[in-house]
């Protein structure tokens, strides 16, 4: 399957790059830099120490908010999926808060928290945690009652049913929530940094004011590479950790 789709994937990318190149040559680099110009800008950016400092700042601040969102969101989601009272209390808030985009709350959070680590971490947390909560809740609710009953019939206690049935059943879905949550977190972090003109978002801001659009495209491509590599890494980890799920979904 992968062997067959890879050439088609490459063909699709080459076609799009070709179109982009043609359009860029027609419009000029102030409006739309060509892929060749963007590649040139990419080379310049990658040797600039300021770029690496900005990327580092973005990543470590984002990771704190993201990890916090998982640490809070996964247990809360499980509790909501398995307990009607917790669900009734939290569900309305989750349903409302999940639509909040980072851009909508950034001004408020700047007033409340300034422009430092607390601000960035809080933005990432608020945008990511509800997504994690809602997806883990759905997964926890869908755990097979029949399998829980199998464990009961073998005399498993509440704790044992949680450990031997509910946790392993949730595992692959938690990994998926973590993967998609990472993308949400990254997007929120970039938005926050663009508002305060710091870190990677600051670089994007500056590039947007440049006469050429080539550096902007280069920065966006780097962001894509970061996101795609991180999710690929997490997918690999998930397959290692839950081989039964990987083996079942491959077919």
């Amino acid at each position: 399957m992968i062997g067959r789709s890879l050439p088609v994937n490459i063909l699709g990318i080459v076609l799009l790059l070709g179109l982009w190149q043609l359009a860029g040559q027609h419009l000029g680099d102030a409006l739309l830099a060509t892929p060749v110009q963007a590649a040139g800008a990419l080379g310049t950016i990658l040797v600039d120490p300021a770029f690496w400092a900005a990327l580092w700042r973005m990543m470590w601040m984002m990771m704190i908010g993201y990890v916090l969102a998982l640490v809070v969101g996964v247990p809360l989601g499980i509790a909501m999926g398995r307990n009607a009272v917790v669900n009734a209390i939290v569900k309305p808030w989750a349903a409302m808060c999940i639509v909040i985009s980072a851009a909508a709350i950034v001004p408020l959070f700047i007033i409340l928290m300034g422009r430092g680590l607390v601000f960035s971490t809080a933005i990432v947390f608020v945008v990511t945690v509800w997504y994690v909560v809602v997806s883990v809740t759905e997964a926890a609710r869908a755990v097979s009652l029949r399998l829980v009953n199998v464990a009961r019939s073998f005399g498993a206690s509440d704790v044992q049913r949680f450990r031997y049935v509910i946790l392993p059943a949730l595992h692959p879905y938690v990994m998926i929530a973590a993967r998609v949550g990472f993308v949400h977190a990254l997007r929120a972090m970039v938005t926050a940094e663009m508002f305060i003109s710091a870190g990677y978002g600051g670089l994007l801001n500056d590039a947007g004011l440049d006469l050429s659009t080539a550096p902007l495209f280069a920065l966006i491509v780097i962001l894509m590479v970061v996101s795609v590599s991180a999710t690929a890494l997490m997918r690999w980890v998930a397959h290692r950790a839950a081989p039964w799920y990987a083996s079942r979904t491959r077919e």
Partner: protein, 251 residues
């Protein structure tokens, strides 16, 4: 002396009586089939004995101990759809009951390996359930129930979801395993031939609310052979039970 005693069990779902004042006894090493039309309440009786469903009234005594409303202790259950844990290999599924009981890893895996071989699945220790056919999954389900060395084996239409050829093979396997390791069995089925072929005694249940229409002691010697299904005495009994059930349905 192993002994099961079910006394005056009644159960209603939402005001509709499913079981009214049902009692039954099973002696050590006895294979008893509960035969009746689908939905008559025989599965409910089995689940009450297993402890998964609470009875409205009545008591269950196993080896003299009151186990009413409790799961575990001395009972191994085989479910209709096998209901294996998809995140456990065949071997780990078989070892599940021992793990719940707190048996150490080396010990429980050794026991599980023994029972997996016994059901003819040597070499499939590390297979995932989804990689096994329906018949193989149910073999694992049988091994899982045997592995805790229960004094009472509960089987809820275990071959109901299998094709006829696979069912015939598994019936023979069950007879072979059980004859090597005799324990009390309660086997729920709506197959007359299956009940006659496997059981020492058959309790024929009416339509809902279920009560025992007749108790039939199966006169055929063990070990049972496939050829006995064509024996005139076998066919006579089969017709007799069939008439009995048909009259009840139309009564």
């Amino acid at each position: 002396m192993a002994h099961l005693s079910v006394k005056n069990v009644s159960k209603a779902f939402g005001g509709a009586p499913v079981l009214v004042d049902q009692s039954l006894e099973v002696e050590e090493g006895e294979f008893v089939a509960l035969l009746g039309p689908s939905g008559c309440g025989k599965s409910t009786l089995l689940q009450i004995i297993n402890g998964l469903v609470p009875a409205d009234s009545g008591t269950i005594l196993l080896d003299g101990k009151d186990i009413t409303g409790k799961t575990g202790t001395g009972r191994g259950m085989v479910f209709q759809g096998a209901d294996l844990f998809p995140w456990r290999t065949a071997l780990e599924n078989v070892a599940f009951g021992l793990e719940v009981m707190g048996v150490g890893k080396a010990e429980r895996l050794e026991q599980a390996r023994h029972y997996l071989h016994l059901v003819g699945l040597g070499g499939f220790e590390h297979a995932w359930p989804h990689q096994l056919s329906g018949g193989m999954q149910q073999r694992v389900g049988i091994a899982r129930a045997f592995c805790i060395r229960p004094s009472l084996l509960l089987m809820d239409e275990p071959f109901g979801a299998l094709d006829v050829q696979t069912r015939d093979i598994l019936q023979d396997e069950l007879v072979r395993i059980w004859e090597a390791e005799r324990k009390m069995v309660l086997f729920v089925t709506h197959g007359i031939e299956e009940a006659l072929y496997l059981a020492d005694r058959i309790l024929v249940f009416s339509k809902r609310p279920a009560h025992v229409l007749r108790e039939i002691v199966v006169p055929f010697a063990r070990p049972r052979q496939e050829s006995m299904k064509l024996d005139p005495a076998f066919l006579d009994l089969r017709r007799e039970i069939s008439d009995l059930l048909r009259h009840d349905i139309h009564a």
